[in-house]
Symmetry: D3
Subunit: 188 residues, 6 copies
């Protein structure tokens, strides 16, 4: 799995969750995770989760830390399983940073979301194209512009770029070890 | 996903990780997670992880809390992804219980293992048959009989049955919500 | 499998055979079969069967009983196999109703079509999207507006809603028992 | 799909439901349906349906008409769907023969079984190996030796070889048209 | 596998590489290889290989021999493997013809391309839709209009139609024997 | 793809074509190609190709250059396609070496076999397990002990180890470029 931190503000409007986005724009060929910072505003026509569309839930935030994972030749059940694992990794990584800072915020994961009490820290979606499964996961950097009660990295005093780079590395290691684990066992 | 707590001591020797074990023995038909308590001793001929076989690493413990997950018609990449998520759920659940108890042990997940510093709390394997992918995950109830430096639920003052029932429920909810998430999104 | 009888006239123009139609419009999440009554007229641009397009065969009827089946994460070979089975169930159900009425019409299935001698009772198509396989199956309620020699439920004195509800239930039972049958056998 | 009527008495003991049985014994390479007549007695160790094993239901008959279908590179969901369709074809074919004979027996299909009232006419199983999905379907030629209340072809005055050849041809046509139907539609 | 030589000049602009092109235009249903002669000019919007798009490499030639292979229900890994094999067959066939002519040109294959020293003889792409994998492969008939240093059939004194018909036949034989080879082996 | 030249005589008796052979014996984890020299004698019980078993064709040779390819999570259609491509690479590589030597032997590939006129240079089989597809390909080093008219590397004055190392490298490059080609195209 390749990783890339993109040192550029890019607005996320949902159109970035398309096959080969990383290859087309940053020359990242193959299974990958990329991250960047930027505003988020997803028009309903770009929303992939029909649940949000049906509930007319806007998805936005003035400043978020974005991740896009693209895995080729796996199905959406895998994609969603990885998405949940990703959320778990992000939560653990932030908790770890807060332990170091002796901060008191306590996060929990509910499906693909991370919360602190009733404050939502993140958004996420996973979907599928003919050739790959993709995950978008984004963490609030600030609370401005969010349509619900949110928590943000600023509240936690966490530098988004530092967090992003930790997570890129952790998820790369996790993905690679998952793949290895599928090639060293006897079948049942 | 069906769940079942088996109120009976069963020794785990690796042969339980076979297709339809839950259906054959407890009449659980379909995707399922079952749990029970019992000793663990896996002869090398039953080990599925060739890495352990090659390293001649014995796998045993006098008393462990066992889980077997069986998911039909999914591949091993999914199975291992779910296994990692399962480990994460177990770790979080134990951490949650310890917070309530104001206990100080701090756990972390490394791949499919849970540790406290250098003490190993759990063992796990995921493999595949023609029709299903299966996960075995077991947590030390005591430290007796383990071949490495271990941590156990007794150290943590956690009742295995209570933990098991929490996890059965959590994983059932997680699995069901993963499946739902694969059937409500527009493709990319 | 979820079922739903939609008590509303909806014109079928082929655009209803799209992924998540049931979820988007009737909040039916997951594998499902839905049914309703309405006119049918499919422009060539919406036809999925290229055989019909190449033969320039119009597909229409002033009043038909429509079914849409959506099965996730299965391929089109499964979808077409189920479609044939569905046609068989519809034929058997109508035959059963006619036996009760001591009616003389004799139906037979040919692939995905149901006939009485040279009179066509139904139309059907199965196709595939990235995430699901879908079947449209429709039975003439009247003979008006059909481009070929047809038979209709009115000829058979069958109330479409009663037939629809029987079939929804039968197909649900069949589908659920098919799924169960894939999870209780030893592999070969 | 290839078909073959095997003009030889062969006892079915469950071991015939193995990959490449038709190729190994009758040089039928590829997707196929073969049929023959012979006694049936399946030891529990050869039973593929764990439901029967758990219920300790013996499966036997002194004289049955056997079919084995083997389809490569499809999954068990397809296999079971085809099995149900096969049962439907057998039932319809027999009903058709009885109409000609002006016989009064009325058959119905329940899942993979064919009944006349409470008398069982057939047995069936579908399972999966690494490379193919296989179906065994057998119809009682006589009622001798069956462990439950049965109906047989002799009761219906149907010559098994004639029925077999009709069904081989019908299923071949059905299978070929299913495959064709997967290669002429636009995706959704 | 069906084959068809299309005795008509058709310009290739990339839009021909779409599912069911052979069925829609030449009534070839199923797995197929078709061939024809015509100019080639692919606008960037029709290019499937993002590598070419990113490199802004034009793809054209005034006169080329075109092949389109369509294989249903296989993945792109298979498609690309077959594409490489196809390139190998074309190269071998041309080499064979040149041996007969005692010609000195020596060809080699590099991935999906055929070269003579630094002169490129062919272009190719393989991609995937929901229901099929497709390959376009084209050989220069003349060197006019090509954007790079090329070799052409005219240089080799090879009649394109003769070559095309040889290759249609060779690839059909190869494909059919590959399929047969997947249905006559014991699994491991 | 990993490659390994095994500098040790190992007799090939068919049992080496088993999942994880490379990992178990040489610690090669994942998609791989390995090669070594040794005698070949495959008892019928170990033969995977039923065609050979049915024809009672012995497979042996006193000294052969063996290759085993193992690719995880791909089907047998892919495996056989790769096998044919592998045979093509071996043939081209030998032809290339002979051109340099100004040797006159002319080889051709027929399916998975390489011949010089009616003399057979190689044997091969591809099959499938639950988790991987595997290819065995072997080239005669000498003609001793072969049951049919053969050609061997000694006839061609080719050093087996040199050939093996060239092919390991070529196939690794080919495989890696195939995988890359599945992750850089727009779907159709």
């Amino acid at each position: 799995m390749k990783t890339k931190w993109i040192n550029k503000i890019i607005k996320y409007d949902g159109s970035q969750l398309r096959p080969l986005f990383g290859y087309e724009n940053f020359n990242i060929l193959g299974n990958s995770i990329i991250a960047w910072i930027g505003p988020c505003e997803i028009p309903f026509s770009n929303m992939k989760d029909l649940e949000d569309v049906l509930a007319v839930s806007p998805i936005r935030g003035d400043f978020m830390l974005h991740f896009i994972v693209e895995i080729f030749h796996q199905n959406l059940f895998s994609g969603v399983s990885l998405q949940r694992l990703f959320a778990s990794i992000v939560k653990d990584e932030i908790m770890e940073m807060m332990t170091v800072k002796k901060s008191k915020f306590k996060l929990f994961r509910d499906g693909d979301d991370i919360y602190c009490l009733d404050r939502k820290l993140s958004i996420s979606i996973a979907s599928q194209s003919v050739l790959s499964t993709q995950i978008h996961f984004a963490v609030n950097v600030t609370n401005e512009g969010t349509p619900v009660k949110t928590l943000c990295l600023k509240d936690l005093k966490i530098e988004p770029e530092i967090l992003a780079k930790m997570i890129l590395k952790k998820f790369q290691t996790e993905y690679n070890s998952i793949v290895a684990a599928t090639m060293k066992v006897r079948s049942l």
